[in-house]
Symmetry: D2
Subunit: 480 residues, 4 copies
């Protein structure tokens, strides 16, 4: 069996780290050590205990978790580096998401595009510059797989800081769309309910993260587009809800006595992340392509008036504005849960996530070949977008290589929307690298949603949103 060393930056995570350790419980072809590094070493330490406990029970002898307070040690000798961090804290994220509401700007997520995404970028970019420098120094030939948002900006920053880095950004939004397409086929009678696995749905992916598009989709010899067209005709006005189980990750793996409370919490979570796919279907009716991200993300890339003009409009479109307060409460619940796991008062039961992180690692180690969607600098895979910006297309993962697949051209009207965000993201990255606060504001002021308020208001909002974030931006405080 192949033994490898993984480094996990943000290893105290109670989300992706738990997904990872559960997936590793099912893994038989590779083994090794996982160095958990976190700005909060005690969280890494907790996860090391949880992970080792879980694996001892479910996959003994294969993996060792180790909390490592030294980034140098954690990186040195690593084959793969996962990055999954929270840039700043939830108090800052609350400002990202909710401060613009005073100006009528509502954001379902606020971590990718728009006001929230841009301000989050201001404090994330310095951290990713530091990560890139650390990788350059301690693990220059390791593969870096990033899960952090804003995905495009994080990945672009890694390459801009260390052009020889081997990095890719991974996101599961396309998977959810593939699940939806499987459901569409099953509902049309092409196959029994629940029989089509997501991986069997072939999609051609193009665009940028969270505003990704599918212009070809097939299952076996079936072109899915005619079925999807019918599906949209039926559900576009009323909305459609996928089976709930499909979206359950780590949280669903809990077991224990507090099942009722957990069910209530889970119901709340679902409500706050819900979507009726109406934005996705509306965009299909307009552009003829399948938008491959959740409605909460998609809406943030469109003109403000379309889906986000007011909480009422959001409700009509059937998706939720996720409040950061929920994230804070949820974090507190997860902290308690983590303590319980650590102290053994609660037992983690592993569920396979359907995520592809482990498969990617195995493919990069040469153990299989994998085609999946991934965020990479544009080397030609999106010929009508600028070179070097980070785009999302399919790619082939194989031993020590990720080769992007040419995604084709976006229709001009859609490219129109995509380019707005591509250049906003380029602009905000330049602003941080050039330490140009005014340029950052200009980019901010040109955002589709921010445009709806006056420049004076936009400036007031920008200054307020930057108040906590900008010192990092200005003085390069990366926290690492």
């Amino acid at each position: 069996m192949k033994r490898i060393k993984l480094c996990y930056i943000g290893g105290g995570s109670r989300n992706w780290a738990w997904v990872l350790m559960q997936d590793l419980a099912f893994e038989q072809e590779i083994s090794g050590t996982i160095e958990l590094y976190d700005l909060k070493p005690e969280d890494a330490q907790t996860n090391a205990v949880i992970g080792n406990t879980l694996l001892a029970r479910h996959n003994p002898g294969h993996w060792t978790f180790h909390a490592n307070p030294s980034l140098e040690d954690a990186l040195t000798g690593s084959d793969v580096v996962f990055v999954s961090i929270l840039p700043g804290d939830f108090a800052e994220m609350a400002i990202d998401v909710h401060a613009p509401e005073a100006y009528g700007i509502y954001q379902p997520v606020g971590d990718t595009a728009g006001a929230g995404g841009l301000i989050r970028a201001l404090r994330t970019i310095p951290q990713f510059r530091a990560i890139a420098q650390a990788v350059k120094t301690y693990a220059p030939s390791a593969w870096v797989i990033n899960y952090t948002n804003p995905m495009t900006i994080c990945t672009r920053t890694l390459y801009k800081e260390f052009p020889q880095i081997k990095a890719a950004g991974c996101c599961h939004e396309v998977f959810n769309t593939q699940k939806l397409l499987a459901t569409v086929l099953e509902a049309a009678g092409c196959a029994p309910k629940g029989s089509i696995r997501r991986e069997e749905i072939h999609t051609r992916v193009l665009g940028i993260n969270h505003f990704t598009w599918i212009d070809r989709a097939s299952w076996n010899h079936i072109d899915i587009f005619p079925y999807y067209t019918q599906f949209v005709a039926r559900h576009a006005e009323t909305g459609f809800h996928q089976a709930e189980a499909a979206t359950t990750f780590a949280a669903g793996s809990a077991s224990g006595e507090n099942a009722d409370a957990e069910q209530a919490a889970e119901a709340m979570r679902r409500a706050l992340f819900s979507s009726a796919e109406r934005v996705k279907m509306d965009l299909f009716r307009r552009y003829g392509l399948i938008a491959a991200a959740g409605d909460r993300h998609l809406a943030e890339f469109c003109p403000h008036s379309w889906y986000l003009a007011s909480p009422e409009q959001v409700r009509r479109w059937g998706f939720a504005l996720t409040p950061v307060s929920w994230r804070i409460e949820n974090r507190d619940a997860l902290i308690a849960q983590a303590r319980a796991y650590r102290e053994g008062t609660k037992t983690m039961t592993p569920l396979s996530s359907g995520e592809e992180g482990i498969r990617m690692v195995k493919a990069l180690m040469g153990l299989e070949s994998l085609v999946s969607n991934v965020n990479l600098p544009n080397q030609g895979q999106m010929p009508d977008l600028p070179r070097d910006v980070v785009v999302e297309t399919n790619a082939v993962f194989s031993l020590d290589g990720i080769a992007p697949i040419v995604g084709g051209a976006l229709p001009t009207d859609l490219r129109h929307l995509v380019m707005h965000h591509v250049l906003a993201q380029e602009g905000i990255i330049e602003a941080v690298f050039e330490e140009d606060y005014e340029k950052a504001f200009r980019v901010f002021s040109q955002d589709l949603a921010i445009q709806t308020v006056s420049l004076t208001e936009a400036r007031a909002l920008f200054d307020r949103m930057c108040a906590k974030t900008v010192p990092a931006f200005r003085y390069g405080r990366s926290g690492l």
Copy 2:
């Protein structure tokens, strides 16, 4: 003396045609015939009489005007073709400009970008396709110089329809900015008032028509930017008005008994076209580049909230919303004036316009070399904009050739705004070539100003604005 044949499509014009004939009154190096072609043959006939009368008096023996009802005859054998037409009529333009006002969308000009520009494009593109076909058939090696708006779209259409065409789009907005820069230097004491000619101001021009930018400007050994920075510091809040004479064209050349009425009309005209350059100065403070078009145009390329949110805001920024009703009244006055010229009750006195049309013709005939700004397909002169789209940069005019000068890169934040319009223009052209009404709407709906209203309202507005225009668009009625 070199004898040439010019063809003037839209030869019944009472604006550019009169400028041309007056400029020809001063021209000593070339001579020939000018075929005036117009959808209204009587207007062409009137202009032929006016032109021949004027030239007989001021430059006898050089030029003959001839109204030609056959486009084939007018084109055949031509060396140069001017195109200066009104796409549709003022009733249609009134819809372009004023229909959006019901939705809070105000447009100072409404012929280039935004709602008005896009709908105007829908009816202009078929006409320019027909013109390109006629040139291809009857005068394939003639130079075509276009003055019609939307400039970018007209010029792009000519090349898309007939890729071997030798066409360029010319616009005097940059000239006015050069005049302003001359004033700036004079006001700073660099030279006596009125001593610097516009042609002496060297500018590097880049961008797209009416959203053109200057990133270098000099006069002799003087870099103008520091002076302009001071000028903006002084005038940005209060505005600045150039000497009035500078913007007077053909209309100013009238003489006769009705001087009082004419002065009143001229005062009205000035008010309705006025600008305090505050938008230009504001953009300079934000981007550090000199915007090289009038404020009325510039505002239409920016987010709606910046300068055009309401008539009050427009007033505060010191420019005017030109009503089409004025254009209609003015046209009626000009018709009367034309009749008077034709009947000899009034006499046209030639003024040299400062326009470069004749100089361009002479340069293309090899009589001089000229560097001027011009709209051409992007062959590399704007390396960061897509190939083939029409851009405005400087170019060298010489015998049978216009060679664009590489304009350099726009800053990313400015490119962000420019690309919005580049792709909207590409999209609207594609929609007409593909006869795709829905695509036209999608492009329309993504416009910066239209975005501010709901999709339902946008659709209602689009359908209303297209009601007169679309038959042409749909069925290819070009009117030629």
Copy 3:
């Protein structure tokens, strides 16, 4: 089972057509009809009989072969079109290959690059223009898979004539290299002899057909490059011969009484197509990349002095100059063999070829997903080569789509050689499309080998080589 219609242009072929029918004998997932079209209808008719006889015995009820003298009928309704023709005849090919020998220019193959390839292109391009027009008219949505050389030029011509065509060029040279790499690993003890299947060798492919390169190769978790480096160190001077069976195609499937004569013929064939891989290994030592074509092809892309300066040098490098006389004799033998098959005096025994034609068809029908190397217009997969020229990289085949995989950049020194041929091929295609005989000569005169003779000699050679071919070139005789 999926039923499809295949059209085979060149269906009288006694090479690829026989491979195809044998592979179909093993195929259980698709079925249908195969329309054989050939300029020699009797050959198509013979193959129809052979194919139906073979399939009746080995895979009854699945496939029907039909010789169709009407290209219109054969194409109409086709899902896939194979093109495998001989442009001109062997008399012309004899001139392509041997006429230059009078000037010291030796060609092992003479059908792709260099003097022979360029002249062959002159008569092939008009035929492929005609094929593209026929596909456009009768089967515009069919997939066209080309096997004809010069591969790059044929495929490029199809797209230049009918830009919406869905065409790809397929070649098995890379497969042979993958077989060699399997042998390398087995010889190094990584796996038992004969245990690694070609398909298991992952290679990243980039370049142009017959001058294709591999810059990454792996098998499972093993990077093949270190093993190949050792292999080359051992064999570069002495040469290496793969197991003979690996290169045996249709001819090997014969059985019957004349086994001795056939064995002798086969031994001759091997000698005339043989290679000791010394060119491939020499290129590896120089450039560090694995050349993925046979030495006979590779040598023709390199400077003339390196491997082809004289028959003696060719012999030293261990490969053969295949005489066209052999092809003529072999054809006569194959004609006899075909007659025997048709008349039943001899029985075709099917062998599975290892070719991917059928798998590609199945992938395009959605029955599987396939990554293979393929020749396609450059949409971005070779970012450092010009757009639109035909390049060879990997691609993903899936339902109705072939998506090229970005191949990365060639090292500058290798790009230097590749670009020579890319631009020669572009030039010769332009010359035919523009019907410019002099331009064709200029391209010819600049070829690496032709450069070695004087311009006067080059012209004499060109005129002689064109004597039979050029009427087709000049007057568009396509033969279709």
Copy 4:
């Protein structure tokens, strides 16, 4: 009058430095100091004396020459930096030019392309890296004007080492072609003999230095191409010699008692640099474009067999193979001449050179506007050549800016030849930057002329040619 500081790297030059000081003797609009820096300080010192003596007599009070042994001092505060150095010495150049003769490779110049140019590049690149670093440190905003060959490689190196440098490469070969075109028109009776000044000939320039092309040429309203076609028809076989005076530079300005000896020397010089323009005319007949460099340069860019196969062939084509021995003798004569100037036994009489160095400086200072051909990184001016490589096109010089003019596309067959050299130059630069001796050899081995010998011979030649040069290349000895 504008006062500036010029720095002259290679200021001990007895060629360009003398041209410069003579041109300055006529200059009335700018004045200042000229810092002469040279690896041989005594030569700089001699030139300072000569220059000050000359200017004191002919243009007193304007310019001061100062020999400066410190590059830091010489650069600091400079407005413009001229670079005109001899990379290595004539002994090395003798190897560049003559060592390949043993293999039948003849070179008329040997400083740009081919064996000589590539080896010269190996020792020049480290020096230009050092110059770029010095400019970056001491005069980052100065304009650098390079006259050193290999021009393309020197200029590219400056930008590769210091991307923000403001550098351009200038060469007078195009001027000579313009003079020839003036002669063509005069000979055709378009104007009296000697009446057309070179500057009046408008040419569109495209390509790379010393392999530059003119695809449009006009004088006033006259297209020169038809006249040139007739001219070529008349002279292509027999050759044409321009009036001798045209090519006389500084050397011609000598006066004194040794007039006879000097005349003899001058006659010798002419013979060794002579050309009958037959290569230029032959290329015109083949490609239809006017080659804009001397035949001695042009021939080195073409396949070896065309013009350079033997000294006899060179003689037939009417140009000379300039031996380095002449350069050595000439240098000795010039050293003696310099001593005589310095000691006052001989007096320099200023002649205006017709070079544009001073005009460029004045244009960059804003005193005039100038269109001239110049070598710059490709920002879009040659859309069909790779970005960033150095190309030669026209450009507009104005205050602190050089804006290249889009040159259009080379015909594919010509681009074929040009790209050979573009990629060879890129490859050799990479080899030096990467310190990869083998890569340098691979590029060398692929050169059009080197290809004609075996790889073994090529290697022997390469090693011999590098023996003196490579230590600099390997260990970064720049001499500065």
